[in-house]
Symmetry: C2
Subunit: 224 residues, 2 copies
Amino acid sequence: MDVNHTMQFDSLSFDYEIDPKAIEVESFRQIRELTPLDGLSREQQQVVMRIVHSIGMPEVGEQVRFSSQACEKGLQALAAGKPILCDAEMVKQGITKRMIPAPPLCYLNHPEVPELAKAQSETRSMAALALWQEHLKDSVVVIGNAPTALFRLLEMLQQGADKPALIIGMPVGFVGAAESKQALWDCHQDLGVECITLLGRQGGSAVSSATCNALLRCNHNEWY
Amino acid sequence: MDVNHTMQFDSLSFDYEIDPKAIEVESFRQIRELTPLDGLSREQQQVVMRIVHSIGMPEVGEQVRFSSQACEKGLQALAAGKPILCDAEMVKQGITKRMIPAPPLCYLNHPEVPELAKAQSETRSMAALALWQEHLKDSVVVIGNAPTALFRLLEMLQQGADKPALIIGMPVGFVGAAESKQALWDCHQDLGVECITLLGRQGGSAVSSATCNALLRCNHNEWY
């Protein structure tokens, strides 16, 4: 190793924490101090803090919404090793592998999907949900990219598709993202599903996988 | 297919755009309208718009910084198929594969890295940079996760490591993220490197890969 943190430099030196545990502890100390967490359960606090961590903004905590049994049902499903269904490969990549018995499922790049999408003139993200049906029952759904995937899921549930234990619905962007999350929040009781969402335009693969990871950590008794 | 977008529902129906091209066009129409782009080159505008797209916030455009030849050097390196070095698998996953001749490089999960990190009591993210050295020359570096990786890269460059063509430095978070990006911005001229960064706490895998993707699209003559 040529590279040594303690080496002296001529002109510049950078003073920064290099110990991973110390970085994590200090990060969550700051997040807990900066984020409004009043009225949240212990598990909900963990979720909100990891969302804030993934996005770098304490103020997004106020946009998080939990249905009444979201954490409870999500924790149960994850503890039972139920399928985790992701709308995008980046979401799948973001889920902590050491805490799950099998890789999350993502059908976006399944060979059938481009044809399905083309036939309906719709996004690949929503076409991929045709392949979710047999895995939906008691699953944990993690949508971090495509509003169309979240809208399609709501439609499928309306038509009587099997219910996931929990929907983590957090697509990001300008067309349909805020609307799809508002629809999830407005309809979840009628559809009889539990959900965690982040209202507004913000969201994404890192935020949605962080939400799932926060629940996995609760099950593994790792608390911030 | 049981699922059909045009099917009538009893109680609810969702009105949303399902055509991927229409979604993209409308997204970037809104982003161009909402984001301050004055004084930016055509290529810089593309980068800022894709950053805004990935994060869902037009106001982050004001936090983006470009060194004087960042886009030019980045475009050249990508056109020449130089290595793309990523600090995290999610960053690698986010880079558009159809536009690059070979997969990006990420050494975070290389079998040597845990031992290197443990020996130095440092993060795996920074230890992985020991394996970057032979690939650095004229590369495009994309750091979207770990402040320690960005600090370590700056140290390596100070010690005479080969220079990347462009550093996209956009780690996210509370401990070291803002500081590492400020250090990149403050030191890049002394170090003789080009960079694109997003000052402040915000950043992440999606933002940093979106920046690289914006340059790849310019090279492929795909403009918003």
